[in-house]
Symmetry: C2
Subunit: 209 residues, 2 copies
């Protein structure tokens, strides 16, 4: 198909498609005999959909999208590695330079906590740092807590994640799995936060009104 057709089916404007090609996110179309005209395939359409999901839903920068797409093209990378790359590219990107002493301590506490749960997770997973940040916030507010305060949340999170991984269709392609993981992580994250607030409201009504 022509670039104008690709733009129509994908909902991405022609200048944006050209920008993605210049940035190396999308391969150029196949050259045809007509000058200044290239041919685009379904592969381009699927890749554009993934790029849109990564940027609009996931909030990824163009640099992070490039990392995900490069990994996607690397056939030696396992799907587990692909998902790790996608996760690491997701916001929040935390600044790890020169962390304060209480954060360093909280990180060690979180690492020990995950080990105690028996969760095998890469030492570089940025969510370790997110969790340590939550622990530090509680301690800075004067709460004398250790990481076991997260127990009910860990149990709920584990049930959800197990369900999510099980619901990935066995015949899904690598790109589909990565897209599903990003959508799942980001969109259902918002849903979970909203549902928790709604559940708090209902239990508050039961207890206090």
């Amino acid at each position: 198909m022509k670039i104008s057709e690709l733009s129509r089916v994908s909902g991405v404007s022609v200048p944006t498609i050209k920008y993605y090609i210049r940035e190396g996110l999308l391969p150029p179309g196949r050259q045809t005999t007509a000058p200044n005209q290239a041919d685009y395939a379904t592969e381009h359409e699927q890749l554009l959909r993934l790029i849109r999901t990564l940027t609009e839903v996931g909030g990824l920068s163009i640099g992070s999208v490039r990392t995900v797409i490069t990994t996607l093209g690397d056939q030696r990378a396992s799907i587990h590695e692909l998902l790790g790359t996608a996760h690491r590219a997701l916001p929040p990107i935390l600044d790890d330079h020169d962390p304060p002493a209480d954060l360093v301590e909280a990180r060690a506490d979180v690492d020990a906590y995950l080990t105690s749960l028996g969760w095998e997770v890469s030492a570089e997973a940025p969510a370790r740092r997110m969790l340590a940040q939550a622990l530090v916030s509680l301690r800075r507010l004067g709460r004398d807590v250790d990481a076991s305060v997260f127990d009910p949340y860990a149990e709920a999170a584990d049930t959800i994640a197990k369900h999510e991984l099980a619901s990935i269709a066995p015949e899904a392609t690598r790109a589909q799995i990565v897209e599903a993981a990003i959508v799942g992580t980001v969109v259902f994250e918002h849903a979970l936060v909203a549902l928790r607030r709604l559940a708090q409201a209902r239990h508050s009504a039961k207890r206090f009104s």
Copy 2:
């Protein structure tokens, strides 16, 4: 105590304390015989701690903090009403002006869904809109889903919220309950998001590596 002492025990600078008094968040200190000197009490210290939690942890604007504190002072407001006010003041503050048709439809779907779950929640709870936004995002990405896609998340959220409300000490004051609710909502929200990503990583390792 003097304002300098209040600043020391609360960790809030003297100019910021004066700013809070001008903005009506904090009552002025009791006048003493010494000119330009006022006396501050433990009540001020506790209120400052709440203001810090609301702004630094909850991300509330000064206007939202004022709403929460005004409600706190209204002895006719039930604790359930107080918690509702605190929740409504929390980000994200969504723009409800002229919503697109698919969002209007998703809101109706979410309302019907919560009714089907038997959750009694105020019609104005902003988390209804957050959840509708998640549903719209999925549909815009081409997924043909209804609100029951949230079932596993609703179940997990309900278990967590029940635990959270049950863990509020019966002897807690109104201000302590509001502070605990904000801290609980915001900090444990981050913790829950982090733990879900970690649990996804571990289940991904089991399935794909």
